[in-house]
Symmetry: C5
Subunit: 100 residues, 5 copies
């Protein structure tokens, strides 16, 4: 799974029925070890109530439709969690429990 | 999902039965933050009535067949929405509601 | 989907039962806008009666098994159409209807 | 499949129901021939009781949900084995049976 | 599908039940036109009785589980054939029928 930051929104009126009622967000992927921007933003569908500024975990590919309520959604990536903490190689690189 | 612009068409007479009646379009992927061309064009199947010049959202991979009417179509990417607006990092980068 | 040209064949005697009776072809991917070679050749399975020299459309990934007769074939790309014409950005880049 | 080393952990409170009770780990991919770091770390879900420091095998993509107990988990890669030995081109490059 | 050469083995004691009894092999991908090493080795599961030194065809992604006996195996690539001959652009680049 990928870690990213929600940085934007997409609005579409004319769309596949499976997308109706789904929130489309723009996600900036992050370097997990440094929690800095890395790579190009992409469009993801929110599955957990995420919003602008949240650090999120994204599932990519066919499994994106295994998120709850997504079994009939034509989606290739879904936001499946809001991240609290990440520890890599002995260092806490993200700690959102205490507002870091 | 990817954002792109419809820039062309493909016509095939001899094809898999699942493709009969489907519109095959050439899509130019876009840099979402700048709405400029980025990367190589590819062939997508229209699922929402898109046409030349439209800015569209494309789903890639196995989920492309979850678009309505695509369950038996051998397709690895499908146009699932026509994009109205995109806002990234506080800036409205695309606004097709008002003809921008 | 990818556009390519059939440039070769692969023969295997010892193979998965799902491949028996299937024609394995080598495909050279093409730059769609210029119809010139781009990238490395790969092996695809024929789903439409294609042969050496044909310009074909290839579906990649899990959807490759949605081609007619491929539901039990372990295949990650299938030739699903022979291309007649491609028009990109206002230019007809391929026209095989009239022998171009 | 990919070979990697478990180097960290991710904790999420707000998440898809399918992730509840699953251990989320950060994996550093390895060059299989030299068993040295190669490429960027990613988040994987543990399917075999792996922990920090273990050399593991990871399955990527839609098949990640075929691991035991993962059929309803929105996951694009799963740790499916802890590696004992790897032999490549006549050399034993990893031997964890004897504590190498 | 990819063409590669079997160059090694992986042994895991602690693993997903779906992997029990499966042979895990290290595969060196090959440039199909020149039959020389190209890219990094990866781990594949044998589906056809392949062994060290064999030139094999590998299916990648979700379809890897369509190989016979793999429907419950968490696998993202499977060896599905041993290659006899490859002809590309008019040249026989591999001929293992006659021991080339």
């Amino acid at each position: 799974m990928t870690i990213g930051k929600v940085v934007g929104t997409v609005v579409c009126t004319q769309k596949d029925p499976g997308l109706v009622g789904k929130k489309m967000l723009v996600v900036q992927p992050l370097d997990i070890e440094k929690i800095v921007d890395k790579g190009n933003v992409f469009v993801s569908i929110d599955g957990v109530g995420a919003g602008i500024g949240d650090i999120v975990m994204v599932v990519t590919g066919g499994s994106a439709r295994l998120a709850e309520g997504f079994s009939k959604v034509p989606v290739d990536n879904t936001i499946i969690a809001i991240v609290d903490t990440i520890e890599v190689k002995g260092t806490v690189v993200l700690n959102n429990k205490e507002g870091t």
